[in-house]
Amino acid sequence: MQKLVITINLILITLGSMAQVLISGKIKDNRGRPVAGASIAIKNTYDGGTSDSTGRYHFKTTEKGAHLLTVSSIGFKPIEAAIVIASDTAGVDMVLKEEPNELKAVTITAGSFAAGDSKRGAVMSSLDIATTAGSNADITAALKTLPGAQQVGEQEGLFVRGGAGYEAKQYIDGTLVNNPYNTSVPDIAQRGRFSPFLFKGTVFSTGGYSALYGQALSSVLLLESIDLPEKSEVDATISPLFVGLGTQQLASNKKSSWGVNYGYTNVGLYFKAIKQTPDYFKMPQFHSGDANFRIKTKRGGMIKYYATFAHSTLGLRRPDIDSGYLKNAFDLKNNNWYNNLSWKEYLGKGWKMNLGLGYSTNKDNILLQVQDAGNQPKNFDNSVYWMRGKNLVLVNRQDLAQVKEVFEKRLAGISSVRFGAEYQHAYNTSLVNDTLHKLVDNYTAGFAETDIYITNGLAAKLGVRAEYSSTIQKAAIAPRLSLAYKTGKDAQVSVAYGIFYQKPENTQLFYTTDLGFTRATHYVINYQKISNDRIFRVEAYYKKYDDLVKTIPASYYYSNYNNSGNGYAKGIELFWRDKKSIKDFDYWVSYSYLDTKRNYLNFTESLTPNYAATHTASLVMKRFFTKIKTGFNLTYSYATGRPYYNFMVNGGNKYYIADQGKTKDYNSLNFSMEYVPSAGKTNAKSFIVWFASISNILGYNAVYGYNYSYNGMIKQPITPTANRFYFVGCFISWGVDRSQDAINNNL
């Protein structure tokens, strides 16, 4: 038998080698360019070949008769063709059609910066936000090192491309965050409420953003929370300013997790050591807690719940500018509760849905009081009207309940369409002394958007959003359009256009609801070249503002508002990040040029707003030394001076500019370092990070603007509460990563 087989085999092989024929040809794409590395095979046989760099292939086969020839290559649709093999055949040419592919396709980048670990084309990772010197793990502060954002230090918020802070909105997992920052304190910027470590991805849109979002004239910040944690762990933070304790528990089947955290901040000790300009009679204290759960569904979807609770108090006093000997006290108590539930699910047949539910409530009890030298309250009669407004009891409350549903359907290739609706019920009250202002708004919006990939190199995003606000009883339709075109390897050009509407602010609507939406039209063009270690971006934009709110003074206390304002912003921005040129050294440079003018609020004419600097630049540098397990980070930020104005009302109830000027240039050099003794140890029982930072190491005296006395005779610079800020802290997490156990046990 054995012998027989061998004999037959021998015959077969002999026959085979005698009957071999040569097949050759060329593989091209639909634009006639050669395709290298394509795999050519006679179906169900071993015979075939690979195309070379000129698209040519050739192979020998022993097969005969009718067969199917298959051709495949990454990025192309595989094809099959019937052939009859008889004798040597040349010129078996095939044309492959490009297959839309997410890895190769262009992405629309006009007006948006992606940050995150999974995002393609991300300019920053989540870790970058924490290790950018000067940010102290505040998302907004880190984003200020990107082009488009202003270096505004006297108020919280992102001031994007000539837009005010309230014209930028934040979203977590698709739903709006009503109070993203700690409550405003006069002339002191507050931190954001959310830690960067909660998010796996961040998109900072500086213009032309998607139809899924609205009610922001200049910018949206989209935060995407993390899915299941990698492992269960307990975390602790210790610093002279802050203590925190929390845990994340991952179920053993890795399908669900839950976590709770609590933190307590008290800057009392710090303020005793580092002198602050205001006199704090109540040291700022924050209690903050959060809780979450995350469940992976059967179909691969995800349900995530996240809630935060915060309670804070502070009280400070500053000299009164009008009297010279009295003091102004500001006392704040804040309670904030934020809830977000999102459900992402695959519905089958290419359908996906995203459901977002949110409820938040925020309450501020504010006491403004004029005090004498002995810190006793001082009252005034009507003759000193300018002082009366400084004694106030305010109770502000903002509640927001919302629901948002987005459906997405995958179309041919990687194109897709998504549509949905959102509803927001906002309940706002403001109790000023004895007067109650109340505002209830039902905001509804419907939106549709489609991503169309014409080829891997050309994509379009078309969207439209319809919005209605019950308070102002106005509806609006906002079209959005963007295009991206691949111009070369790693390089692309994209453009974006859109109309964006925003309701007037509550402080205005409390007085009159006879207002319409304010409006901005964006035009953005962007060029980007991106490789693994280097990113270069240049972007130019033009924005037109219409129907901005104008203030019409009626008396000293009271103003009316209408929509007669307008304005524009234009500029050019550059971004360059390089991790390659110098080994282990990572840096980025950003530069923004901004030309903007507005005639809004109390402006007498078209003027550059006081939060807009013409030139802004940042240089961020990072280096981690493996030997000493320590990273050093430096950030230098620069901005030219910003204009300031003192608008006063004349006898005819008209504003005029009593004084104006420009502040000096802004400079800030910030330093931070982290020491990670357990870095990279995959089997470490605990993970420790020591962190230290100094903001404004050179002690530059920043001036953000000026405050004026009621009669305009006295002006005082607005400065930071202290020249430098120091932080030192230790973060510890205990988590058991069992991935190495199997190996160690077998050694």
Binding site: M1, L4, V5, I8, N9, L12, G37, S39, A41, K43, N44, T45, Y46, D47, G48, G49, T50, D52, I74, L103, K104, D117, S125, L127, E230, S531, N532, F624, T626, K627, I628, K629, A679, G680, K681, T682, N683, A684, D737, R738, S739, Q740, D741, A742, I743, N746, L747
Partner: protein
């Protein structure tokens, strides 16, 4: 007569089946030799494509896809391959085809390498994702085959490449390489089954001295 006809027919089937398997063995041996001899990225791509054709034709053999993935992985180690993520996609596509037939320790070894290649693109940010993926692959592989020499070799490589300060280094890698070599010497791979790694482990052990 009928009986003998039947047995002749049976014999004929046997011959055909054996011939088919002989053909498979022959082409696999030829391709494995080509893989060992491959010098350029082009050579490796050709041999990967060749293995893929065998896999597609056979449909029930995991080895051709395994070798296709392996050839593509050797490409991934080359410093002149720019887009490691695109290359990794190809490797993972081959692995998925192989795993659909059989899930085993050898496939986890390749999975470890591809995850490592992706991690190396940006170790600082990727060690928590791709790094974990790589060590999970090793762990899963060892569960299936606690005496797989290649998994120990790869574990040694990982320790060797990790700085001393991060819990790696030559001293940590040395016993793992020694264990790997002992297992290589004891191993008796079936015909056509993977047997690479011993020389690499020995070279690395020499560097640990």
């Amino acid at each position: 007569m009928k009986k003998s006809m039947l047995s002749l027919l049976f014999c004929g089937f046997m011959v055909a089946a054996l011939a088919q398997s002989e053909k498979y063995t022959a082409v696999m041996q030829k391709n494995i030799a080509a893989l060992d001899a491959a010098k350029t990225i082009g050579d490796l791509q050709d041999v990967a494509a060749s293995f893929e054709r065998v896999g597609d034709a056979e449909k029930t053999q995991w080895l051709p896809y395994y070798y296709a993935a392996l050839a593509q992985t050797w490409i991934g180690w080359r410093p002149d391959v720019k887009d490691k993520d695109v290359n990794a996609e190809k490797i993972k596509a081959y692995l998925a085809k192989a795993e659909a037939i059989e899930k085993n320790a050898e496939l986890y070894a390749v999975e470890n390498m591809v995850a490592t290649q992706q991690m190396m693109v940006d170790p600082q940010t990727r060690w928590q994702t791709n790094g974990v993926e790589a060590s999970t692959a090793l762990q899963n592989g060892l569960k299936l085959d606690p005496n797989n020499p290649r998994l120990y070799y790869l574990q040694g490589e990982s320790l060797f490449g990790t700085p001393v300060q991060f819990g790696g280094g030559k001293d940590k890698a040395k016993p793992v390489f020694e264990k790997a070599i002992a297992l290589f010497k004891a191993a008796q791979p079936k015909p056509l089954y993977p047997n690479w790694g011993q020389k690499q482990a020995e070279d690395k052990l020499a560097q640990c001295q």
